[in-house]
């Protein structure tokens, strides 16, 4: 591994101009950051890596003024900065796009940007609009200026966030897992935008990501955090993904589960959807028929927005069907409500973990949310039993959290593990799993995939919806491809080639 000083000439970026030194931050017992130092340069893409809970978000929140460090200092060009709020950070030229967007959903793009950049009381929306159009051409970030934010797909909302940060004049831009919420096409165009920002607008970009391929592709410098410490910070060329993974997790074996023969041959399907129709203005489902057998993983592939979300929602019971039937173990459900589906043995991991859990509640409370009554003796909650249940889940699923921690303070990966623990601890007959590894680090990803494989071996019927085609191909026994609200084709997992599936995803059937 090269040291930073040794190869400074080869660096693409300018001289370091923001120094974070000896930053320490603890939340109660948890030390999120201990004595972390890092420097940032303009005209450089600086990737920040680390396992879930390593402290990446915390470090960037400190730089952006969203939280205060217990000790340590931030300097810009030799001058100590006092960053008490995002406003201070923006004044110092630092912008951030957080994992959760901070846009006002029912306002237009221009109005949202005006909120962030308008300085005076008089609001001249026309001039803001001109500025938005100018900036979006300049940075290659096309946005529809008069569209209502809530009507835009997530990729465009993210562009608005980036544009907003750039237009408030930042020379450093922090992006916290920007690609985690995007589909493959959007990821490519975002990476292009980032490269362009670095080379043409001379912006220093801090990119937090768990995806090695992206980092290899665009990072100039890579820093790795492990358990709140910087374990390496160096130029990116010459480092392999393998080395980075070792740096992130230390020397340990990854728990890869080998694929075994499908257990499902000749068994009757346990989940059967028959000609299901959901009518909606945009999207909806159009005559979907699908079945999943016990011990089988059926993967759903497709360009996002072709009915995957609706499919998951009718199986979680939050979207009712207009016609067709859903049957579990041969019994047709009279109605697809969450309660009936759960009683029938359908478990769920939703695509949006924030919508699946209650942030303000404790980990152990969230863990029993779908079976509160099992943890109440008469009406009194049995907190001791909940605690034991939670602690065993924390052990079994390697969750980095304490039982009584408030769920909202967990790192993304650990939130996901809690939700998986909730799903599997009920031993569902059918598990609907949507985007299970979104935002998860490499180790957690392979761990979660091994959990899904294990559930399959235990005879659970798994319906896996994922935008990550590699994930679908790795796990699924059969791949069903969705196109415009229907299942356009089902391919056997063993014979599934990317090409064949790619064609189906584009709507081409032969």
């Amino acid at each position: 591994m090269n040291s930073v000083e040794g190869v400074a000439i080869a660096s693409r970026g300018g001289a370091p101009s923001i120094f974070l030194s000896n930053i320490t931050k603890a939340y109660g017992e948890t030390v999120a950051l201990s004595d972390v130092s890092l420097d940032l340069r303009t005209s450089e893409v600086h990737a920040l890596l680390g396992e879930n809970g390593a402290g990446k978000t915390t470090l960037m929140k400190i730089l952006y003024g969203l939280t205060q460090p217990d000790s340590g200092q931030i300097k810009a060009d030799g001058v100590a900065l006092q960053i008490n709020s995002p406003r201070d950070a923006r004044a110092a030229g630092i912008g951030m796009v957080t994992q959760h967007f901070s846009l006002v959903k029912n306002m237009t793009v221009v109005e949202n940007i005006a909120l962030a950049i308008a300085r005076t009381f008089s609001l001249d929306l026309d001039s803001v609009r001109d500025a938005v159009v100018a900036a979006s051409t300049r940075y290659g970030l096309e946005v529809p200026p008069d569209a209502i934010i809530g009507s835009l797909p997530i990729g465009l909302q993210q562009r608005v966030e980036i544009l907003k940060a750039l237009m408030s004049g930042c020379s450093y831009l922090i992006l916290d897992e920007p690609t985690a919420v995007l589909g493959p096409q959007d990821i490519d165009s975002l990476l292009e935008v980032i490269t362009q920002l670095r080379s043409e607008a001379k912006i220093g970009v801090v990119l937090i990501s768990h995806k090695m391929a992206e980092i290899e592709k665009i990072a100039d410098r890579v820093s790795v955090l492990r358990r709140g410490k910087v374990v390496s910070s160096s130029l990116a060329n010459g480092i392999t993904s393998k080395e980075l993974i070792t740096l992130m997790v230390g020397e340990q074996e990854s728990g890869v589960v080998l694929r075994s023969e499908s257990q499902s041959h000749g068994r009757d399907p346990i989940l059967v959807l028959d000609s299901v129709v959901v009518k909606m203005e945009i999207g909806g489902l159009n005559n979907v028929s699908l079945d999943v057998r016990p011990g089988e993983i059926v993967g759903i592939a497709g360009v996002s927005g072709n009915g995957q979300t609706e499919l998951v929602n009718i199986l979680s019971g939050t979207l009712s069907i207009d016609s067709g039937t859903i049957a579990v173990e041969g019994a047709t459900l009279t109605q697809n409500t969450p309660q009936l589906l759960m009683r029938a043995g359908v478990g769920m991991l939703g695509e949006d973990r924030h919508a699946s859990a209650v942030h303000a509640l404790q980990v152990m409370e969230n863990l029993v949310l779908d079976c509160v009554d099992n943890f109440a003796t008469k009406v009194q909650l049995n907190r001791k039993k909940m605690l034991e249940h939670c602690e065993s889940a924390i052990n079994q699923f390697e969750i980095k959290a304490t039982a009584k921690q408030v769920f909202g303070t967990l790192s993304g990966g650990n939130m996901q593990k809690v939700l998986l623990a909730r799903l599997f601890s009920r031993k569902p007959k059918v598990a609907i799993i949507s985007q299970p590894t979104r935002g998860l680090d490499v180790m957690a990803t392979s761990y979660v995939r091994s959990l899904i494989s294990k559930a399959r071996l235990d005879g659970t019927a798994v319906l896996l919806v994922s935008e990550d085609l590699d994930e679908v191909l790795e796990l699924a026994d059969r791949v069903a491809v969705m196109y415009r609200g229907s299942v356009i084709g089902v391919v056997d997992g063993a014979n599934a080639s990317r090409e064949k599936i790619g064609e189906l995803m584009a709507g081409i059937v032969r």
Partner: protein, 300 residues
């Protein structure tokens, strides 16, 4: 001096009783994500129906029971409007309050005051366990020894409480987890209304033994403010109730002093409200509202 301090504490507890009951009721309701502005009206209705029933039957307990029924029915109507129909919570709550107040005033006029009289009962008498502090109505003892711990237990230690807090923070997540959002909110609203009704009935059946126009006199709104002041925590909520009541009891004592005879009594009367406003201004910023506060929930 000792005497007057004891007097003030004793009378504070009495003053705090209806406030605490109503605020606990509002707390349970709001924890489920619903703001019940019908609080003032529910107290008013139960105060009137309570004493009217007691006067007719000659039984204070029957009066209290009738007050509870009033609260439950009002809560049910409010829940139907806000949870089932999705009516704006401000509108439904204020509407309920306005309706209850004018309905009770009219009924009072027709039944009791048309011949110039007034409804009267012999109210509950305090139990004296020694000293002014421990000379309280049974409902005051019940409030602080039963209702307060019960509400705490309900919200933070019972299965229902976990469901209430979950639907109040994130109804989507609760729904997916199989918790009936509507059912839980109905339950919270009705439990809350019963507590508010107890607060209203206390005023006529114990405190004064009669009913006059405007008898609740904004106590419901004070209770509402106490919930925010208390940041949805029982301890802080009670501290707020104590502050209001002590200032109120204090000003009542001051009015008796000769040196204060020149001060217009309205100024003294306003003091406790001023205390709540200042308290709110100090603590009302960055309040951790329940995540789904004011949001009706409907599946897609």
């Amino acid at each position: 001096m000792i005497d007057i301090t004891q007097e003030i504490i004793g009378s504070s507890l009495r003053i705090a009783t209806p406030l605490a009951l109503a605020a606990l009721g509002e707390l349970v309701t709001e924890k489920s994500g619903v703001l019940n502005l019908g609080i003032e009206g529910i107290m008013y209705g139960s105060a009137f129906v309570g004493i009217a029933t007691a006067a007719q039957t000659g039984s204070l307990s029957a009066g209290l029971f009738a007050g509870f029924i009033t609260g439950a029915v009002a809560g049910l109507i409010f829940a139907f409007a806000t949870v089932t129909l999705g009516v704006n919570q401000h509108v439904a709550g204020l509407g309920l309050t306005l309706f209850m107040i004018s309905f009770c005033n009219t009924a009072n006029r027709i039944i009791f005051t048309s011949d110039g009289g007034q409804v009267r009962v012999d109210p509950w008498q305090p139990f004296n366990f020694g000293g002014p502090i421990f000379s309280q109505y049974w409902m005051t003892y019940a409030t602080f020894l039963i209702a307060v711990p019960f509400t705490w237990w309900l919200l933070w230690r019972s299965g229902l409480g976990l469901k209430i807090r979950a639907v109040g923070e994130n109804p989507e997540a609760a729904d997916v987890a199989g918790i009936g959002v509507a059912k839980t909110r109905y339950t919270a609203i009705i439990i809350g209304s019963l507590l508010m009704a107890a607060g209203g009935a206390f005023i006529t059946l114990a405190f004064v033994g009669t009913f006059t126009i405007n008898i609740i006199n904004g106590r419901g709104w004070v209770a509402l403010a106490l919930v925010i002041f208390g940041r949805w925590k029982i301890g802080r909520l009670l501290a707020g109730a104590a502050l209001f009541s002590v200032v109120n009891a204090g000003q009542l004592q001051l009015r008796l002093l000769p040196s204060f005879s020149d001060v217009p009594f309205e100024i003294l009367l306003a003091l406790p409200f001023l205390a709540v406003i200042i308290g709110l201004a100090v603590s009302g910023r960055n309040v951790p509202y329940p995540g789904a506060y004011l949001k009706p929930y409907k599946r897609l």
